[in-house]
Symmetry: C2
Subunit: 210 residues, 2 copies
């Protein structure tokens, strides 16, 4: 079995299991048996369970955040060209839409988006620390863009509203075919596109509230 195949298969298996059960509840035994590799292969290829998690994040987050950055810069440049402020809605769309686009585009990406969602909201976890390190640059870009769009809003209010938006987004990332939020009778039947639009409408209104 080639070295590349082994690493890939471990990454795929880890991504699925971390998303389903969380980092700490996923055992290396579960990962390696799903990937059909030896138990010790993880430590050989990645060094540790935590380093494996970092590799899982890195593989998908680098391209996803590159897309987000391009779209954000596009929004800002268009506004500058036309001599107007960027629209909050366009900024939020530039950040949120790639999440769900990406989620539909690649096999395994859905598990990954779920993993991000659960990582960002789990306090003091290994996964959160690792994730935020990858997210810091794009979140800086995002908050700067919002400051251009809402210059009269006090900076701390803007940042808290962005924090609330991230909470709403993260909560929405858990969706999968089996999703349901039983207390509200919500089911996964809603198509992704209109769900994305509902979320963008929601956070835009929240950011722009007077």
């Amino acid at each position: 079995m080639s070295r590349l195949d082994t690493k890939q298969r471990i990454l795929d298996a880890a991504e699925q299991l971390f998303a389903r059960d969380g980092f700490h509840r996923t055992s290396l035994r579960a990962i390696t048996s799903k990937a059909k590799v030896n138990l010790a292969a993880v430590n050989y290829h990645f060094g540790s369970k935590k380093a494996l998690l970092e590799a899982v994040f890195e593989r998908r987050l680098l391209p996803l955040n590159r897309t987000r950055k391009e779209r954000l810069e596009e929004v800002l440049q268009n506004a500058r060209k036309r001599g107007v402020r960027p629209e909050v809605r366009d900024i939020m769309r530039a950040f949120i839409e790639p999440t769900f686009r990406f989620r539909e585009s690649e096999p395994g990406a859905q598990d990954f988006i779920k993993l991000i969602g659960r990582s960002i909201v789990t306090p003091d976890s290994t996964a959160k620390t690792v994730l935020l390190r990858f997210m810091k640059p794009i979140l800086k870009t995002l908050s700067e863009a919002l400051t251009e769009a809402l210059p009269e809003l006090p900076k701390d209010v803007l940042l808290w509203r962005l924090y609330f938006s991230i909470g709403a987004l993260a909560h929405t990332m858990h969706l999968d075919k089996r999703f349901q939020f039983e207390p509200l009778n919500l089911k996964a039947e809603t198509d992704v596109k209109s769900l994305t639009n509902m979320l963008i409408t929601f956070v835009t209104a929240g950011m722009e509230a007077s």
Copy 2:
């Protein structure tokens, strides 16, 4: 040592550790040594680790949700008396404000609110299942109140927006003295009252978006 003391001390210790480390990462040994009771005391008094979690939820959630229910009914009755629709803002305030009031009122309550926050957003976890069972009635009351306030909004849009609001709320429940959201440079210095108001403003605008 009296029976009551032992149970209380186990509940207090479990609440702190579940909030800090999550259900699965917290061992009974950690709980019993923190509570200074014998390892077997948990199984004796509660039956199992999961039953202990249920008891932790029950102790604080029953009074908290009773307060929420009273305040929601007050809002609805006032509106009916005056022959007008209830205001979304008042409804959201009736649900959210007790959370943070409660959080400041009792020692240990802050840990509990953190525990709820992390439980609601962790998919497929034991804690989420247990929590939602306790939350179902009050969430039903809340969604009915919102339907009265926003009768022209399609029901599924209303429910998704409520779902987003819960995400924003849950994300905000993690706050403690040591809280910081490093990528946005957010710190815990903001006082709870204005934070509560910011959150209410945010979700109200989101619910009312056109």
